[in-house]
């Protein structure tokens, strides 16, 4: 196996806010800092904000969590989470197309699901993060140590994580087919997964705020025509200096030319939303249910979990086959 799992020694907090009001305050409190120093927000090296029609989901590390204001609008998921990140260690120049979640579906996500470990996914422009609960860490390490070199990042220094030596009591569960349990929906939006030069962040900060908090509702001209399938979705993350954005294709013209990073092929993505009612944090296997069929079909995917629902992004040209594949699994489960 030519990949190792990198374990970012960061405690992450999930926050969820139902109202615009709270998030605006949060954002405002960050905004001046953003202007100052774009690489780190007051020592916060992990910051992610995702807007869904239901709420805003914020994932921050401990430093960032301290900065969040107290509010009754803010609900915080119990337990702290650790971010795992799979980096490729080998030099094999495989030009395999499947990227992101698909690539690690079988090696990481499925084994974790088999061991009943609840995971939370956050894909970015640069990489994929798998978040696991801190208390599950021994189990995670035990599960992954067979196939990965585990490294721990402590204060930026990468060291080999010693096996915790707790192997007794971890029983390898039986492998069962994983039917899709939760209802799926696919909004009509086309999404862009993009990034931008951190140096240009100050110049677009107000625009970002506007897009996230003040362009709400369905008042956008493009959205009015197909109300039924169109949803609001916007994700911004700033993790270790790298910015990642997921936005509606219709939003991109609002950014100045040459600010957003684009791919040479100009690929666009469509979304599959998972869950009819809030998924919670304890259920495991949801990511695996989605990613395994995609991996089998060799379809690249992004996966963004939020406080209530999960979101998978797949290339627009593959959306029909994806829905097809997932429906098969869905029906198999019923």
């Amino acid at each position: 196996m030519d990949a190792w799992s990198e374990n970012i020694q960061k405690h992450l907090w999930f926050c969820n806010s139902c109202g615009n009001e709270v998030c605006t305050t949060i954002w405002s409190s960050y905004h001046p800092l953003l202007m100052d120093e774009m690489k780190e927000i007051a020592g916060c090296k992990f910051f992610s904000l995702t807007e869904t029609p239901e709420d805003y989901t914020i994932i921050v590390d401990e430093e960032g969590f301290k900065e969040l204001p107290e509010s009754e609008h803010l609900s915080v998921a119990e337990a702290t989470w650790l971010a795992l990140n799979v980096v490729s260690g080998g030099g094999s120049a495989t030009n395999s197309q499947p990227i992101g979640v698909t690539k690690i579906a079988k090696s990481v996500i499925a084994p974790l699901a088999d061991h009943n470990i609840s995971v939370f996914m956050l894909s970015t422009y640069q990489t994929d993060f798998i978040l696991v609960r801190e208390r599950d860490l021994p189990m995670v390490m035990h599960t992954l140590s067979s196939e990965f070199t585990l490294l721990r990042v402590i204060n930026g220094e990468t060291v080999a994580a010693n096996s915790l030596g707790v192997t007794n009591g971890f029983v390898k569960p039986k492998l069962v087919p994983r039917p899709i349990i939760h209802p799926l929906s696919s909004p009509s939006n086309m999404f862009c997964v993009t990034s931008l030069d951190p140096d240009t962040l100050p110049s677009v900060a107000t625009l970002l705020m506007d897009v996230m908090f003040y362009s709400g509702g369905m008042k956008e001209p493009g959205a009015s025509s197909e109300d039924s399938g169109h949803i609001r979705f916007f994700s911004f993350s700033l993790i270790e200096g790298y910015i990642s954005l997921v936005m509606d294709e219709q939003t991109t013209p609002r950014f100045p030319n040459n600010v957003l990073f684009t791919s040479a092929s100009g690929e666009l993505w469509k979304m599959v939303r998972i869950g009819g009612q809030p998924l919670g944090f304890d259920e495991c296997g949801i990511v695996a249910q989605i990613s395994e069929p995609l991996a089998t079909a060799d379809i690249p995917a992004y996966y963004i979990s939020t406080f209530k629902f999960d979101h998978a992004l797949v290339p627009e040209e593959n959306i029909q086959s994806v829905i097809g594949a997932l429906r098969t699994n869905e029906s198999a489960g019923q």
Partner: protein, 880 residues
């Protein structure tokens, strides 16, 4: 760069051109100030150089990094890495030749846009351009582009999907297919090609340094580290690489790539640039953010590879090219230690040369040697010596050592002549010591032991013990006028006058011999003053007349004599009034004090006593005659402390060779460094505690070391002999004994028991004539002594064919007569042996053997005995 952070690149082939890149590219030419080429509009870079802006290129926005094409042609081709990951070829100030034109504006576009962090041209295959990009979840971060590749048809298939950059493809200048793609799902922060092989690429990746081998792209060597920025290969050591992270620089040896061979001291601010000096080995320059200094690390003497156990020697220092904050710097490719620095703001440039540390060494003689850069300078004392500049004390001491300074123990005063005879302080010192010695010898004759101890304790102590002083008022000689000048007498005061050299032994105070000797030396003024102080005004006038009429005499002395003859003791006379005011205009201090004496009130002779140009001896003698018992010790005390303060050797007269004397000598040595005089002088102080004073021991040891350093080994030996005579405790015990192989008894011990039969082996025991002694067997057990490896005779046999043996002895026993021949003859008979192979023989034989051979004379022994002797090949420089 993005407007704020500029960078500099030197042209790889034109040593006078460089490019500054900030928001745009500016090509500059550097030249001397006032040169015809650098005309108006030239920007001064230093006192001597100025830069002219040749061209500006602002075609490429969002520049993140720039790299200069390494080959001669096309001359000024630059690759610019942009914020969106595209690499654009551009040029500056080019005449549009065809090859260049074709490449201009060519773009290399990665599949997924993200920042381009670094660019590196392959130095051998210059079509290859490596670009390091930020991380993307699915893309590669190291792309190697072939700049000669055309827009490939296979890429046009993908072009259907290109929506955002469709305009570019039309021109045919966009390349989307890299030659190599490396580092999937990773970020690349820095790149450099390794000189070991043209297909080896060193990359600073997200959390590791990786060496990609393009001959087999599935292979890579990597090491996990934080120090992944700014990888750069030492141009003088292809295996040495520097990289950095935040404020810390790591130095790597590619042969031991597991961990950095060394890490440099961490800086509080993050580093922005690290560069090896191309013209000087092992010199690394580093720059941190918001700093106006460049920190240099000299690893020239750091061994490569660095062993684990040794602490590497790195010399760290800082240079400040200008007062403003530094944006970036670049070493000049050929000019030694030179760099151009550009300020963080306003593009202010400075041409700056880092001066090499100067290492400096004094030789044991006076020359001074220093090394700076590639130059070695020697500064020697002028041999011609116009006499204007005083010679260095080391030169003086050397010359004095050669003239046997200090060794005249009989006519002690002559030592000042051996010292050159031109130093009044030394003259006074040695005369004082001479008088002291003379007096003790007299006293010994008189069997008055009590005074002996006193005489070396100085006049200050002598007059303290003074008792029974008588006061008398004497007439002026040759005049019956009664003076009211009281003069004081006592035994101690007479002794003091003797030590001052004014009078000879005997009860009378008769200065006539002293006056004669002064006249003989032409010291007319001094003689006249001494005569006057002895109240002999006629004699004084007579001396002055004599002085005026002498050869090259000063006629003014007659005028002084005239003035003197008008002396009157009338208190309010015009003569007195005039003399007391006009005397100060007299240049000669003795003439001045004569009138001071005559115009003073009795008992208040400050004009004489504190005239510092008058010799201390004369002032002391004067004080002993005219100051009463209460004034005299006060004056002595005052004068002594004054002498001690300035380290004036004349003060030894007052302090004697006491602890006070050592204090005085200490300040003299501090002032002059003359440990030679100090050593010889203080040795005379024996027997006494002074020799045991640690300061005195220190001077003696330093003087001996100096003699050794000058290779004046014979002088040092002489000094040791001299010293052991005066200070028997300094005689070292015998340290080496030769013992018999059979009975184990010391041969020399037996020898000393039978003084006429053997030779001593102690340091000074070169006793007995070799012709007389013939001990070939152990005196203890009668077994034969070892044989000489060359003549095969037993030890103890004199060297047979030594021409010098038995000659040149028997004459002139007045000194230690050791002529070179004589000494050599004795030395030839010594038995010597190698400490390594234990073979040996007669010293003379062994020496002549090793003149032509390197190996031991014993057959089958390959010991290179002589080479093991580090001092064996040195020749004493004082041999005569």
């Amino acid at each position: 760069m993005s407007g704020s952070k500029p960078d500099i690149l030197w042209s790889p082939h034109h040593a006078d051109r460089y490019v500054i890149c900030d928001s745009e590219l500016g090509l500059y030419r550097i030249g001397p100030v006032g040169c015809s080429e650098t005309k108006a509009g030239a920007l001064p870079l230093s006192v001597e150089t100025a830069a002219t802006l040749l061209a500006i290129n602002s075609d490429t926005p969002y520049m993140k990094c720039v790299a200069w094409y390494p080959k001669h042609e096309p001359e000024c081709l630059l690759a610019v890495g942009q914020a969106n990951g595209r690499v654009v070829l551009t040029s500056l100030g080019q005449s549009h030749n065809s090859k260049c034109k074709e490449l201009m504006g060519k773009e290399f576009v990665p599949k997924h846009a993200r920042q381009c962090n670094t660019l590196a041209w392959n130095p051998v295959d210059s079509n290859w351009l490596a670009a390091g990009l930020d991380k993307h979840r699915a893309d590669f971060s190291v792309l190697i582009w072939d700049i000669s590749s055309k827009f490939s048809p296979e890429a046009s298939v993908a072009a259907e999907k290109i929506r955002l950059s469709s305009g570019d493809t039309d021109s045919g200048l966009v390349v989307t297919k890299p030659l190599y793609e490396l580092g999937q799902n990773d970020a690349c922060l820095s790149l450099c090609w390794l000189p070991r092989d043209q297909k080896l690429l060193l990359a600073g990746m997200h959390r590791n340094l990786a060496i990609f081998d393009l001959r087999n792209t599935s292979q890579k060597t990597f090491v996990n580290t934080k120090a992944i920025q700014g990888v750069t290969v030492d141009p003088h050591f292809p295996d040495r690489v520097a990289s950095f992270f935040e404020g810390q620089v790591a130095i790597w040896d590619l042969r031991k790539f597991e961990k950095p061979v060394l890490t440099l001291t961490e800086q509080p601010k993050p580093l922005t640039k690290v560069a090896w000096c191309p013209t000087r080995m092992g010199l690394l320059a580093t720059l941190t953010r918001d700093s106006n200094i460049i920190r240099l690390y000299d690893m020239q003497h750091t061994p490569t590879p660095i062993g684990d156990e040794t602490e590497p020697t790195i010399i760290e220092r800082s240079v400040q090219p200008s007062n403003s904050l530094i944006g970036s710097f670049a070493w000049h490719p050929t000019s030694q230690n030179r760099m151009v620095v550009v300020s963080a703001a306003n593009r202010v440039m400075t041409d700056f040369t880092v001066f090499e540390r100067i290492s400096l060494a004094w030789s044991s003689t006076t020359s001074l040697m220093w090394a700076c850069g590639r130059h070695l300078y020697e500064c020697a004392e002028g041999v011609g010596g116009e006499g204007t500049v005083e010679k260095d004390i080391a030169t003086k001491m050397r010359q004095r050592a050669q003239s046997r300074y200090g060794h005249d123990t009989v006519q002690v005063w002559k030592n000042h002549l051996l010292a050159g005879g031109d130093d009044p302080q030394l003259k006074s010192l040695w005369y004082t010591l001479f008088f002291m010695k003379q007096y003790t010898e007299d006293v010994e004759q008189k069997q008055q032991g009590s005074k002996q101890a006193l005489v070396y304790s100085g006049i200050k102590n002598i007059v303290k013990s003074s008792s029974g002083t008588t006061e008398n008022r004497r007439c002026w000689s040759g005049s019956d006028r009664q003076t009211d000048v009281p003069r004081f007498h006592s035994e101690e005061r007479s002794l003091a006058l003797r030590l001052c050299g004014w009078i000879n032994r005997g009860p009378d105070i008769n200065v006539e011999p002293f006056l004669r000797s002064l006249e003989g030396e032409g010291e007319w003024e001094r003689a006249a003053a001494v005569a006057l102080f002895n109240l002999d005004i006629r004699r004084a006038i007579q001396i002055l007349n004599k002085g005026a009429s002498a050869e090259r005499g000063d006629l003014n002395l007659n005028v002084v004599a005239m003035a003197l003859s008008g002396y009157t003791d009338e208190k309010s006379s015009l003569w007195r009034e005039m003399c007391s005011s006009l005397r100060l205009q007299l240049k000669n201090p003795y003439l001045c004090v004569m009138f001071a004496f005559l115009t003073s009130e009795p008992g208040t002779y400050d004009g004489v006593l504190y005239e510092s140009s008058v010799a201390v001896t004369d002032r002391v003698a004067f004080a002993c005659m005219f100051l009463n018992d209460s004034q005299l010790p006060r004056y002595m005390e005052k004068l002594t402390s004054e002498m001690k303060e300035v380290g004036n050797l004349e003060g030894i007269l007052l302090t004697g060779l006491t602890k006070d004397g050592v204090d005085l000598m200490e300040s003299y040595v501090d002032r002059t460094g003359d440990v030679q005089t100090a050593s010889f002088c203080m040795l005379k102080g024996s027997p006494g505690e002074v020799v045991k004073d640690p300061r005195v021991q220190c001077w003696i040891e330093n003087y001996r070391n100096l003699l050794d350093a000058w290779r004046f080994w014979h002088k040092r030996a002489e000094f040791d002999i001299h010293r052991s005579k005066l200070d028997p405790s300094s005689k070292p015990l015998a340290q080496v004994f030769v013992s018999c192989n059979f009975c184990g008894k010391s041969i020399s011990y037996s020898c000393s028991a039978m003084p006429h039969q053997g030779r001593g082996f102690s340091q000074y025991g070169v006793s007995g004539s070799p012709t007389k002694s013939k001990v070939t067997s152990c005196p203890g057990c009668r077994k034969p002594l070892p044989r000489c490896a060359l003549c095969l005779m037993n030890m103890g046999t004199p060297v047979s064919n030594c021409p010098g043996t038995g000659h040149g002895t028997g004459k002139s026993d007045e000194k230690v007569d050791l002529t070179r021949e004589n000494k050599l003859a004795q030395f030839n008979n010594w038995f010597t042996w190698c400490h390594n192979c234990r073979h040996g023989g007669h010293a003379g034989h062994i020496l002549s053997w090793f003149r032509d051979h390197t190996e031991c004379p014993v057959s089958a022994c390959t010991c290179k005995c002589m080479q093991l002797d580090t001092t064996g090949n040195l020749v004493p420089s004082d041999s005569h």
